[in-house]
């Protein structure tokens, strides 16, 4: 049930416990135990909400920053990654194979704030060799969800 449970709540973390139990064909206690276990094991890391901020009046600017770094002896990339992810404005940090090392995503209120972060904080870190900043202009799909969903009607015919 573990994989199926995860697949369901990955799409809908608000589904109620009883319904979850019914569609998985197990008891609510089983679901509850499994959820707690998954949280304990750090497999479930949080229950977030996918928000399309562009549709609100709140200003938010997102950027992807490619960072090249010199790995440190004994710690590889972990230490520098930690230095970066501790900044609250950093939304995610991934270690990447290929032309650069870390992909950092950033969310700020303005271009100015983003450039300030890159020039003042990120570039000045000792092991950072270079950065390349890409601004996100439009989000079409996020976390597997198409944000501008076209309205579609069920046109299927009743067939017997």
């Amino acid at each position: 049930m573990r994989e199926e449970l995860l697949l369901i709540i990955e799409k809908n973390s608000r589904i109620d416990l009883k319904e979850l139990a019914v569609i998985l064909g197990v008891s609510t206690e089983d679901v509850l135990n499994e959820l707690q276990q998954l949280e304990k094991e750090g497999i479930i890391c949080g229950y977030h909400t996918l928000i399309d901020w562009d549709k609100t009046s709140v200003e938010k600017i997102n950027a992807l920053i490619e960072v090249r770094v010199t790995p440190q002896r004994g710690q590889g990339f972990d230490h520098i990654a930690e230095r970066i992810y501790n900044y609250p404005e950093v939304k995610s940090v991934y270690l990447i194979s290929g032309a650069y090392d870390l992909l950092v995503t950033l969310e700020q209120k303005s271009l100015k704030e983003i450039s300030a972060f890159v020039s003042d904080k990120l570039s000045t870190l000792e092991s950072v060799l270079s950065t390349a900043t890409h601004f996100i202009l439009k989000k079409y799909k996020d976390h597997g969800t198409i944000l501008e969903k076209k309205h579609t009607e069920d046109e299927r015919e009743i067939m017997i």
Partner: protein, 388 residues
């Protein structure tokens, strides 16, 4: 002058509930639980192959029996699923949906007056197709207490000197019933003893929810040579509109079927055939994902029925549940009509699938859980009202 009309065609009844369901399209908040096709879009990589086929100008006829590549993939697929070997040259025919395979299969087998055994409730086209082929349909009324499985006894009772073919419709539309290997073995014994042939419609073969996967009767000892196996892409890969199915069986029969196909159809749609190659090569995960969703909905509905006190055996196949509404003292049609008029939910009366469907309702779960939830709230309210 008078319009020429064939007597045979005239005697065939049109599907009686068509009109009944036109109401649905006019009701604004109506929910239909009536469709017999997946609610999923065809997986993108399959559609993508279709688009590529268009771009590359793959818009000519294929050979009558279908693209060689597709026949090879079908052969591999059946080998993989059922351990059965069908030669891509001569033992596999690509058709316009499973429906065409049913039609031409019967036409290729039947002589005027032969009897075709049709267990019901089942898909509506078997009986008309048998009649069009000149056969006399012999109906077996399946029983709820057997979970609508066909028993050896029922089969034996229906067989006469004139019996030629048994249509075996499992996993079943509309009941959701399946036949497990042990059930099939008992049937196979009779079939061999009485020397008859089987047309096995396995279009829902990928959609079973029991512990063991679907078993084809053709895979049982001595049955390959007496079975015409029919399957297709519609249900497993959500490809209903692509109109693509296939038939596998002994070469002698397939050769005759190919003649009818050749003269009536030429070949199945080419674009669809290219897409289907992709479906068979890389579609296993899609089938798994869709099946998981269907199973969740199936459990949801069965639980909802239980909570509202509606009797329903647990169906392990297709995407239908077949609850019993006998205790409300109405016919299936009355129940369905009132349910539609009063609660704006459309379900198909069991009688659409044969007389033995009386007292039952076919509810399709090829709908999102959200839709099913609303529908079940309305059904519970309707039943409460009836119980008062």
């Amino acid at each position: 002058m008078s319009i020429p009309i064939s007597k045979t065609i005239q005697d065939i009844k049109p599907s009686g509930i068509r009109k009944f369901f036109d109401i649905v399209s006019e009701m604004k908040d109506a929910i239909s639980l009536g469709v017999g096709e997946p609610d999923f879009d065809t997986p993108w990589h399959i559609r993508d192959e279709g688009i590529y086929a268009f771009e590359k100008g793959k818009t000519f006829y294929t050979s009558n029996s279908g693209l060689k590549d597709l026949r090879i993939e079908i052969s591999n697929y059946i080998k993989r699923k059922q351990g059965l070997n069908y030669c891509p040259d001569g033992e596999i025919l690509v058709t316009v949906g499973g429906s065409e395979a049913i039609d031409i299969g019967l036409r290729a087998m039947i002589n005027e007056g032969d009897e075709v055994i049709i267990p019901q409730p089942s898909y509506v086209s078997y009986e008309p197709c048998a009649r069009l082929a000149g056969a006399k349909p012999v109906i077996i009324d399946l029983k709820a207490e057997n979970e609508f499985r066909l028993t050896a006894q029922e089969l034996e009772n229906a067989i006469t000197d004139k019996t030629k073919v048994l249509i075996l419709p499992y996993p079943n539309n509309p009941t959701g019933a399946i036949m497990e290997k042990s059930d099939l073995e008992k049937i196979a014994k009779i079939i061999k003893e009485k020397d008859i042939f089987v047309l096995s419609d396995e279009i829902y073969s990928e959609l079973t929810y029991s512990e063991t996967p679907h078993v084809s009767i053709a895979s049982l000892d001595g049955m390959r040579e007496r079975t015409l196996l029919i399957n297709g892409f519609s249900k497993a890969y959500a490809m209903t509109g692509w109109r693509l199915g296939y038939a596998c069986g002994p070469k002698e029969l397939l050769t005759q079927m190919t003649k009818i196909h050749q003269y009536c159809i030429m070949c199945a749609p080419t674009i669809s055939q290219y897409a289907a190659v992709e479906a068979l090569k890389n579609g296993d995960d899609d089938v798994k994902t869709m099946k998981m969703s269907y199973n969740q909905r199936r459990r949801f509905l069965l639980n909802a029925f239980k909570e509202m006190g509606l009797e329903c055996f647990e169906p392990f196949g297709a995407f239908y549940v077949f609850p019993c509404i006998k205790k409300f003292g109405m016919t299936s049609e009355e129940f369905a009509t009132r349910f539609l008029e009063e609660e704006h939910v459309a379900a198909v009366p069991g009688t659409a699938f044969g007389n033995s469907g009386e007292g039952f309702l076919r509810i399709s779960y090829a709908y999102s859980l959200e839709t099913l939830k609303i529908a079940m709230e309305r059904l519970a309210r309707f039943i409460n009202k009836l119980n008062k």
